[in-house]
């Protein structure tokens, strides 16, 4: 066999391997898409198909779910208001002020804390509520949940913001320093204006994440003493009872309500994600 024939055979073998790898990658992607669509379809079916025949939204949904959604949005927003300024200051320090080594340590720690499971935060919440039950004083339950959620989302917010700070080209900072700007003038006049769309995107992504931390609220509410359930949190009690009492069995109206709720939350998450991505594009990061 000549060297040309050997090369040719080798080339054919490589082409076959490459084709197979491409097929495998396509199949993986296709299956993922099918699972995602099936998941959405299941939610839609379980949530809305029964009501197509009933003709209107269930009264129980209006009674339980809508107040729950508004209460949950309000608490989530409070959590974001608490967490965002601290996250912004932290990201600013890590990205622009801290020495490189310290910055690397902080980045590592925040990436680590970002992965803290929700159940840990819920556990801390239960412990706090138990203490409050014993002493009979302290912040409101809604306040406790908002602070817990703020603590829970804080590392993720810092990470989102750090990503946004990272995409500001170093050349802009250098140009500012070269004109005699101080560090704070550079931060104020160059970095923050460039980061602001990305920071807004980070806030939306943080809000989306808080909305997903529903388990924290449910666990804490179920553990709380009934004396503390009146301050801005009472609207959330019925749903927690639904989950807690196993009354949402398959086929019941409550069961479908839970799916409607899930579908709406999913929709809200997609919307928040969509707007966040648009803001990130506005920053020119991706």
């Amino acid at each position: 066999m000549t060297s040309f024939e050997l090369d040719s055979k080798c080339g054919r073998d490589t082409a076959v391997v490459e084709r197979n790898v491409e097929r495998f990658l396509f199949l993986s992607t296709f299956l993922t898409a099918v699972v995602a669509v099936a998941f959405l379809g299941l939610f839609f079916k379980e949530a809305f198909v029964p009501f197509l025949f009933v003709g209107s939204l269930n009264a129980l949904f209006k009674l339980y779910m809508l107040p729950w959604i508004f209460a949950w949005l309000a608490i989530s927003f409070k959590a974001l208001i608490i967490a965002f300024p601290f996250a912004l200051f932290s990201a600013l320090y890590i990205s622009e002020i801290a020495p490189e080594r310290l910055s690397k340590v902080f980045r590592f720690l925040f990436r680590l804390f970002e992965a803290t499971p929700t159940v840990i935060v819920a556990g801390i919440g239960v412990a706090l509520v138990a203490v409050r039950g014993r002493v009979g004083a302290g912040p409101t339950l809604a306040g406790v949940i908002a602070v817990l959620l703020a603590v829970s989302v804080y590392p993720a917010l810092v990470c989102y913001l750090l990503d946004r700070f990272t995409v500001v080209p170093k050349s802009f900072k250098m140009a500012s320093y070269a004109l005699g700007a101080s560090r704070w003038q550079t931060i104020k006049s160059t970095i923050l204006p460039l980061v602001s769309p990305g920071a807004a995107a980070a806030a939306l992504m943080g809000f989306r994440r808080i909305l997903g931390e529903i388990i924290v609220a449910l666990v804490v509410i179920q553990t709380a003493d009934s004396r503390f359930l009146q301050e801005g949190i009472s609207q959330m009690v019925p749903l927690s009872m639904v989950f807690g009492s196993e009354s949402a069995v398959s086929g019941t109206i409550l069961y479908h309500d839970v799916f409607i709720l899930g579908f709406l939350m999913l929709l809200l998450s997609y919307l928040l994600n969509h707007f966040a991505q648009r803001l990130i594009r506005a920053q020119g990061g991706e």
Partner: protein, 251 residues
């Protein structure tokens, strides 16, 4: 002739990498000095060290002195921002801010306390006139600067630097990414500015160094090999390494 910048025993290290090794160089007031040498010779490091921009890189160590009008810019009590205003560096790649032409040039004056629109407009007009951009851009001051041509961006960055009224201009790679027409216009700008400002620029083009500069400094591997009048260095180089570089036997 008065000396604007006097470099004494300047060494710069990036971690363990030596970028400049005990460089001694004097730069006369109102003159144009070309830094020539192969890539990695230390031209950019020297320019950055002349305005303390090198400190913005992590792990940089700078030893020696740089005297600006007989005052060591590396003294502890020196205000670094003030030094960078007096000695302005224009980077290799022209980087306009993602703002309008007006706001780009107004950036420097604004951070130094100029707020009035009329005063800013005057500064912008003067700065653009000095770089020959006023006629081209006077009706497009609100246009985004990043939409300008590469040559216009380069001159805009010079105008932006001039707006803070520096005494010396440091230009890293004069013709980086520019076509021959844009390079010629940029050279004209420097020839016009020479005299009013002390100019130090890095270039890889010998002809450009010959056309624009009064003095030439040849650097190689972080060391200053030769420095003198452009005509003398180009016609009678004292060091064979300079001759090899100028004649293209080594690049």
């Amino acid at each position: 002739m008065a000396i604007k910048l006097d470099v004494r025993g300047l060494s710069v290290h990036y971690g363990t990498l030596r970028a400049l090794d005990h460089v001694n160089l004097t730069i006369p007031t109102g003159s144009a000095t070309a830094l020539i040498g192969p890539t990695g010779a230390g031209k950019s490091s020297l320019l950055r060290a002349l305005c303390r921009m090198n400190e913005l890189w992590e792990g940089v160590t700078t030893l020696g002195q740089v005297l600006l009008d007989d005052e060591n810019i590396y003294s502890r009590h020196i205000d670094v921002s003030h030094i960078r205003r007096r000695v302005s560096l224009i980077p290799r790649r022209p980087v306009p801010f993602p703002l309008s032409v007006f706001d780009n040039i107004a950036y420097g004056p604004r951070i130094h306390g100029v707020k009035g629109r009329t005063e800013l407009a005057n500064i912008i007009k003067k700065s653009l006139e000095k770089v020959g951009l006023w006629k081209e851009l006077k009706d497009r001051l609100e246009q985004r600067a990043i939409d300008l041509s590469p040559g216009q961006k380069q001159r805009l960055c010079v105008a932006r630097a001039l707006a803070v009224e520096p005494e010396a201009l440091l230009i890293d790679d004069l013709a980086s990414g520019l076509d021959s027409a844009a390079t010629a216009r940029m050279e004209d700008v420097l020839l016009n500015l020479k005299g009013d400002y002390t100019i130090v620029f890095a270039t890889h083009t010998m002809q450009q160094a010959g056309r624009v500069s009064d003095h030439v400094a040849y650097l190689s591997e972080g060391a200053l090999i030769e420095h003198g009048d452009t005509a003398d260095v180009f016609s009678r180089p004292k060091d064979h390494r300079t001759e090899d570089y100028i004649t293209g036997r080594f690049s």
